[in-house]
Amino acid sequence: MTEFSMEVFQNEYLAPGATTMDAIVTVTARGGSTVDSAAGNAAVVLIIDTSGSMSAPSTRIRAARHAAAEAIDAIRDGVQFAVVAGTDTASTVFPAWGSGLAIADASTRGQAKEAVKHLQAGGGTAMSMWLARAAELFGSSRAGIRQAILVTDGENREDPWLLDDALRRCMGRFQADCRGVGTDWIVSELRKIASALLGTVDIIPQPEQMEAEFRVLMEAAMGRGIGGAALRVWCPQGARVNFVRQVAPHVEDLTGRAQQVNPLTRQYPLGAWGDEARDYHVCISVPANNVGVEMLAARVNLMTGDQNSGQALVKAVWTSDEAASARISPEVAHYTGQAELAANIQEGLDALKAGDERTATVKLGRATQLAAQSGHDSTIRLLKKVVDVEDEATGTVRIRKNIDKADEMALDTRSTRTVRVGNKSGGDAE
C-alpha cells in the first residue's frame, strides 16, 4: 500500500497588515511500487511518429522500430497496451483495430513487436489525431493508471486550435510523457502537451538513444501504484489562492487547473504517483487580522480518488515582533528562486530566438547566478553549452557563438527541473 506523508515549511508569522502567506508543502509516497501493484490497473499507449520526416535520415524509423520493440518488451504481464502510429492521421498498429487494448503476455508482446517491425514512414503530422486515438483506446479501459508515451521528430502541421481542442478533451483521461527526437521539433509544443497531460518533456538528441529512453519511460509508467492523486486546498472565507505551483521535481503551475469542490475548497489534479516526493508552493491571500490572531490560511489534503491520504496545515499568526515576521522560510526562498531560474532560462532562450542578444544575456546571466546559488549543477552544465560564464556569482555571461541546437533545446526542455531544497535527492535525477 502506498502511504503518503506531508510536511509544511513556512514562516507562519505575519506583520500587522500583511496578507500574503507562502508555504512549501512536501508530499512523499512510500511503499507503492511493488512489481505487481500496477499490473491489471495500468494501461499504456505508445504513440510513435511515422510521418515522412522519420525517414530522413532513414536511421530514425529504424531506430524507432527497435526502440518500440524494446519498450514493448518492458511491458509487464497484465498491463493493457496498444501501439499507435501517427501521421496526418492515427492508426493502431497493435492490437487489431476495434479490439481496444491488448493484455500483455509473451504472446501479445511478440505480436506487437512483429507489428512494429513493419512501421513505415510517410505522410504528415497531426498530433490532435494521435491524442484522439489514444483517448479512444484508453476509453475502452478501466485501468486507474493510463499513460501515453508520445515520440515525435517534428512540428505539428495543423491549425493550433485543433491541438488545443484535443488537449481539452484528453485532460484527466490519460497522462502523456513526450519526447522529441533530433532537433526539428518544437519544445513549446511538446511542453504544452506534457503539461496539459501531467507528463514530462525531454529531448532524445540521437535516434539510437530512443531504445534506452523508451525502456525508462515504460518502467516509470508501470512503477506508479496510485492512479489519480489530487491536491485539495481549503481556504477560509475571505481568503483566496494566489497560486498553487509544483516546484519539485519540476516547476509546473497548477493554479489554472483548479476544480471547485465547494465554495472554500479547490482541487488540483496531480496524476499518477509512484514512490516519489513532490513539493508544492502554495501562496494564499488572507484578510488582515489583529496582532495575536491565529488562523488557518489553508488546509491542504492529498486525495487519492475520494480518499483523504494526508493533510498539512498552513497557518497564519499576526505578530508585532518584526524579527519573527521578517524571516523568510528558506524553503520558500529556495523554490521561489527555482521558479525564477526556470522563467529566466525560457525568457532568455526566447530572446535568443528573436535575435535579442542583450535581453538573452541578461536573462541567462541571471539564470546562471540562480543556478549557482542553489547548487543546480546539471542546469549550470546545460547553461555553459549556451553561454560562456565569466563569473557565476554575479551572473556575468556571454552568449556563445555556434550554439548546438540540441544543447539549446536540452536547456529549454530541462529548464523547469529543480533541485530540492538542501539538495535532497529526487529532484535532479538525470
Binding site: 481556504c235 477560509p236 472565507q237 475571505g238 481568503a239 472554500l264 488572507v286 495575536g292 490572531v293 491565529e294 488562523m295 488557518l296 490560511a297 488546509r299 496545515l313
Partner: protein, 410 residues
C-alpha cells in the same frame, strides 16, 4: 467512570466521551456527561451548534476537529465555550473568555442531599504551554470531585478527617492529570493544570490548592480572606517583600506558576488550609481569568457586593461577565458555594434544558439534556454592578497585557 461510550444524539451510533464529532453522521456532540452522573450536579452546556465563532459568527458545528473555524479559519474550539454547573445551592461557571481560542479551565460543583451545609467545589486551570491542557484540567476535576463529595456525605467521617480527604482528592486529580497521554517528542511538556478545591460541612471549610487558582471566603459583613497563597513567582516576590502586588502582577512571569498537577509535576502536594466559618458568607473559587481583573481580595469582595441578593449561579455569571467586559484575556472560571445564606432562585432562566441526574442514571440521559438552548443570550447574564466593575478593570489594565498565562516555572 460511568461509561466511555454513549449513543450519538443524532444517529445513535456509538461515540466516546472524548469525541467532539460523531464519526458516523458528522453531528457535533455536546460535552460528555460523565461528571454529571458521578456528582449529581446539573450542567448546562450550550450545544455546539448554538455557539458562534468569535470572528465570523459561524456556528460551532462548523468548527473543525483540530480547532479552527471551518468558515473563517480562526483558531477556535467551541468545547466548554460557556458551561454552567448547578447542584442545589452551589454553582460554577466556566467560559472561554475573549482572547483564548479554547477553554482550558474546568469546574465541578457538588452539594450533599439533605444537608444544606455540605458541598464541594473544584476548579482547575490548564497550563496553555502544555499538551492537551483542556483534557488534563477536566480529568483532574472529574477525579477530585467524587472523592470530596463522598467524604462529605459520609457521616462516619469527622471534620478533622477533611484535611486527609483533601490530600486524597488532590492525589486523585494528580493521578488523572498524569495519566493523560502525552507525546514526548513535542516542544511543550506533558499536560499540566492548577488545582483548587474546597469541602464544606457545618461550619468547617477545608481548602486545598496547587498553583495559582484562588480560593476566597467572603463574609456577609464584607470581610474577605484569600485562603492560602498562589504558588507563583509573583507571589514569592511579594512574600519576600521586594515588590508590591501591583508591581509583581505587572512584571514578567506574573503568571509563572511554581507548582502544578501533571506528569512532570515536581511537587503535586496541595497547600491545605482549614477555616472555621463563623457566620453567613460565600465560599468562592476562581481561575486567574477572573482574579487578574481584581487581584486585590478587597476589590473582588467589593465586586461581589452585598450577599444574599442573588443565587450562586447569578453571582458566578456576573463575575464571569465582569471579566469578559474587562478584556477576557484568559479563560474565566468561578465556583460559588453560599454558607448559611437564604438565597433566591436564579434570577435569569437557566439556558437550555436542565437535567438533574442521580449517580445511577445513564450518561445517555445526560447527553439528551444538552439540547440546543433558547435564543436568549446566555453569556450576558444580569448586568447590574457592571459599571463599578468597569472602574475596577480600568485600574488593573496592566493585567490585559499579560497574555501568556499559565506558564510553568522551568
Amino acid at each position: 467512570v460511568v461509561s466511555d461510550v454513549t449513543p450519538c444524539p443524532s444517529c445513535g451510533e456509538e461515540v466516546t466521551d472524548r469525541d467532539r464529532f460523531c464519526e458516523a453522521c458528522g453531528a457535533s456532540l455536546p460535552l460528555a456527561a460523565t461528571s454529571v452522573a458521578e456528582t449529581g450536579a446539573t450542567v448546562t452546556v450550550r450545544a455546539v451548534d448554538a455557539q458562534t465563532c468569535p470572528n465570523c459568527d459561524a456556528s460551532g458545528s462548523d468548527a473543525t476537529e483540530d480547532g479552527y473555524c471551518g468558515l473563517c479559519g480562526r483558531r477556535w474550539s467551541p468545547v466548554r465555550e460557556h458551561d454552567e454547573w448547578v447542584d442545589g445551592p452551589v454553582a460554577g461557571v466556566t467560559d472561554r473568555g475573549i482572547d483564548h481560542w479554547r477553554n482550558e479551565d474546568a469546574v465541578g460543583v457538588s452539594a450533599v442531599d439533605g444537608d444544606p451545609s455540605g458541598f464541594a467545589l473544584v476548579v482547575c486551570d490548564g497550563v496553555s504551554a502544555s499538551q492537551e491542557p483542556q483534557v488534563v484540567a477536566q480529568a483532574a476535576v472529574d477525579a477530585a470531585l467524587p472523592v470530596l463529595r463522598d467524604a462529605i456525605a459520609d457521616e462516619s467521617l469527622e471534620d478533622t478527617d477533611f484535611e486527609a480527604v483533601m490530600v486524597d482528592a488532590t492525589a486523585a486529580a494528580q493521578k488523572a492529570a498524569a495519566d493523560v497521554p502525552a507525546d514526548p517528542d513535542m516542544d511543550v511538556g506533558p499536560g499540566a493544570c492548577t488545582f483548587v478545591a474546597v469541602v464544606v460541612r457545618g461550619d468547617v471549610a477545608v481548602y486545598g490548592s496547587v498553583g495559582d487558582s484562588r480560593a476566597y471566603w467572603i463574609d456577609d459583613d464584607g470581610g474577605v480572606t484569600q485562603v492560602g497563597n498562589d504558588d507563583s513567582l509573583a507571589a514569592e516576590l511579594v512574600a519576600s517583600g521586594r515588590v508590591t502586588l501591583e508591581q509583581a502582577m505587572a512584571g514578567p512571569g506574573a503568571h509563572t506558576i511554581t507548582k502544578w498537577l501533571g506528569a512532570d509535576s515536581p511537587d503535586p502536594s496541595p497547600q491545605v488550609t482549614r477555616l472555621e466559618l463563623g457566620g453567613p458568607g460565600v465560599v468562592m473559587l476562581a481561575s486567574d481569568g477572573l482574579w487578574n481583573y481584581a487581584p486585590d481580595p478587597e476589590a473582588l469582595a467589593a465586586l461581589v457586593g452585598s450577599l444574599g441578593q442573588e443565587a450562586a449561579l447569578d453571582l458566578a455569571r456576573r463575575l464571569v461577565a465582569f471579566a469578559e467586559e474587562s478584556g477576557g484575556a484568559d479563560n474565566i472560571t468561578v465556583a460559588v458555594g453560599p454558607h448559611d445564606l437564604d438565597l433566591p432562585a436564579p434570577a435569569s432562566p437557566v439556558i437550555g434544558t436542565e437535567s438533574v441526574l442521580g449517580p445511577d442514571e445513564p450518561a445517555a440521559a445526560a447527553a439528551s439534556a444538552l439540547d440546543p438552548p433558547a435564543a436568549d443570550d446566555p453569556g450576558a447574564g444580569p448586568d447590574r454592578d457592571l459599571a463599578a466593575a468597569d472602574d475596577l478593570a480600568d485600574s488593573d489594565a496592566d493585567a490585559d497585557d499579560d497574555s501568556d498565562d499559565g506558564e510553568k516555572e522551568p
